[in-house]
């Protein structure tokens, strides 16, 4: 089992699971808001095509949550 941090919470993921899937499974369906309308966004296409699920992983911004495999100790933020 893998554990990573998201806004003060500890999220668990299975080996090989993406950060996006792990957050969705934890009931977190949105992890950023849009620039203009401040709309919540999370997974949409879940296969790397739509870029809705962007977040910051260990300080690197604009990572696709659905394409980024969770690793133990990752620090994830919007």
């Amino acid at each position: 089992m893998i554990e990573f941090g998201f806004q003060g919470r500890t999220i668990t993921a299975e080996e090989g699971q993406s950060i996006g899937a792990a957050l969705h499974a934890a009931g977190i369906r949105s992890w950023r808001t849009t620039r203009f309308g401040n709309r919540p966004r999370g997974l949409f296409c879940a296969i790397g095509a739509c870029f809705d699920c962007l977040l910051t992983v260990n300080g690197t911004p604009d990572q696709r949550a659905c394409q980024t495999v969770a690793r133990s100790g990752d620090e994830v933020s919007p």
Binding site: E14, G16, Q17, S18, A21, A22, H24, A25, R29, S30, T34, R35, F36, G37, R39, P40, R41, G42, L43, F44, C45, A46, I47, G48, A49, C50, F51, D52, L54, D62, C66, Q67, V69
Partner: protein, 414 residues
């Protein structure tokens, strides 16, 4: 090293092509963006042994270019090959409707990917909507995962093309019957001539508006259905970016290939969905066919099988088109482009200023200018300006960092 063949995409078409090539003694590289082979269809469920193939995983190919001795494939490393086979598959086609950007609205393929690839339930109570036979396996996958599927809504009506096509391809008919039986056993209604025309909720989906629609997709009777998730898909868009970069001729949404999977550019082959959405079975046949034809005469059996499956795909295309009546579902503030948050009103304003094609509308109102580069809104923006959706030119098929780009330049100059 210069490979005899480089295959981009390790889904059904690419896996098959690479294995046939290796068996026939070609030096072959198989490149894929994911950490596992299988593509969207197989989702890395089993990892086949790939002897004699240089498998390069986790490689997001952002550009392909012709170079003196063949083709250079640029990802985090560069691969060179004298012949290139592109089998990059497809992603869901979506159309806009009010609330479609709410969390909890997923593409049909995305919902299936979560279950099959990630072992995650997309939600507890889900409505499946859109068009095409793919909605059936998605609903069944969700049922098998223990999700309550409330309804499956097919926008199109039963088509005579489809009945005739199913009669000619018994394996597909058996599959359809099995899916229908599974839905019936679980008491999941399958309704044709119905669509989800809006999703509602504050921070996430709490319900959807389901409408009966005319055969042109104009809604005429509405009700709401409570659910926490919506899986929606209106067919598929082939991912032809790399083929377009190389100048391969396209027709509609796909690249043109001859009966041996050759594109209009010498040395560039294409197999599976990029040559027109036809499903995994056709992809396997075309992957094998492309390599057999490259080496010598392809077996007549493969040529015949390809023709049969392509005829079936044509019947699907005729039976499950996206009809323009979806435009009646829009409201002025409905987002058309999710990335740049471009509303229906903003597109109408661009039209009023004289923009009469997708490119002009994009320049004035920015739909398709954002992260996804028009992958999600391409169909909608084209139709809203009265044009046929067509593949777009994307010089970068994947986002890359400036660091990767400068590294690439250094490699080139040495």
């Amino acid at each position: 090293m210069i490979y005899d063949l480089a295959v981009i995409g390790a889904g059904p078409a690419g896996l098959t092509a690479a294995r046939v090539a290796a068996r026939r003694g070609l030096s072959v590289a198989l490149v894929d963006a994911y950490a596992r082979t299988g593509g969207q269809y197989l989702r890395g469920a089993t990892q086949p042994r790939l002897t004699g193939i240089d498998v390069k995983l986790g490689q997001r190919v952002w550009a392909v270019e012709k170079s003196g001795e063949g083709f250079q494939i640029h990802a985090s490393t560069t691969t060179t090959a004298s012949t290139l086979l592109v089998a990059t598959g497809t992603h869901d086609k979506v159309i806009p409707f009010p609330g479609w950007d709410l969390p909890g609205v997923l593409t049909a393929g995305g919902a299936q990917a979560l279950v099959k690839g990630e072992r995650v339930k997309p939600g507890e109570e889900i409505v499946v909507a859109g068009t095409g036979p793919f909605l059936l396996p998605v609903a069944v996958t969700l049922l098998d995962a223990g999700v309550r599927v409330k309804e499956v809504l097919e926008a199109n009506r039963p088509s005579p093309h489809m009945a005739a096509a199913l009669a000619r391809v018994p394996s597909k008919a058996r599959e359809a019957v099995a899916f229908a039986r599974r839905l019936a056993d679980a008491r999941v209604p399958y309704r044709t001539g119905h669509a989800v025309v809006a999703a509602h909720g504050k921070d996430s989906v709490e319900g959807v508006t389901v409408a009966k629609i005319t055969k042109d997709w104009k809604p005429y009777a509405w009700r709401t259905v409570d659910c926490d998730t919506l899986a929606v898909g209106y067919g598929f868009t082939p991912q032809v970016d790399l083929l377009v970069q190389l100048g391969c001729r396209t027709e509609g949404d796909h690249v043109v290939t001859d009966d041996r999977q050759r594109t209009s550019v010498d040395g560039v082959l294409a197999a599976g969905e990029v040559a027109g959405v036809a499903g995994a079975q056709a992809a396997v046949v075309e992957g094998a066919l492309a390599v057999h034809a490259l080496i010598g005469e392809p077996p007549p059996r493969l040529l015949a099988e390809k023709r049969r499956l392509r005829r079936f795909a044509r019947a699907l295309e005729l039976s499950y088109p996206v009809r323009d009546g979806w435009q009646h579902w829009l409201r002025p503030d409905t987002l058309v482009c999710r990335c740049e948050e471009v509303t229906v009103t903003a597109i109408e304003e661009a039209r009023d200023l004289g923009a009469d094609d997708p490119r002009m509308v994009k320049l004035l109102a920015r739909p398709g200018m954002g992260w996804c580069q028009g992958r999600m809104c391409g169909h909608a923006v084209a139709r809203l300006t009265g044009h046929e959706p067509a593949p777009q030119k994307r010089p970068f098929a994947q986002p890359i960092t400036l660091a990767d780009l400068t590294l690439h330049d250094r490699e080139d100059s040495t």
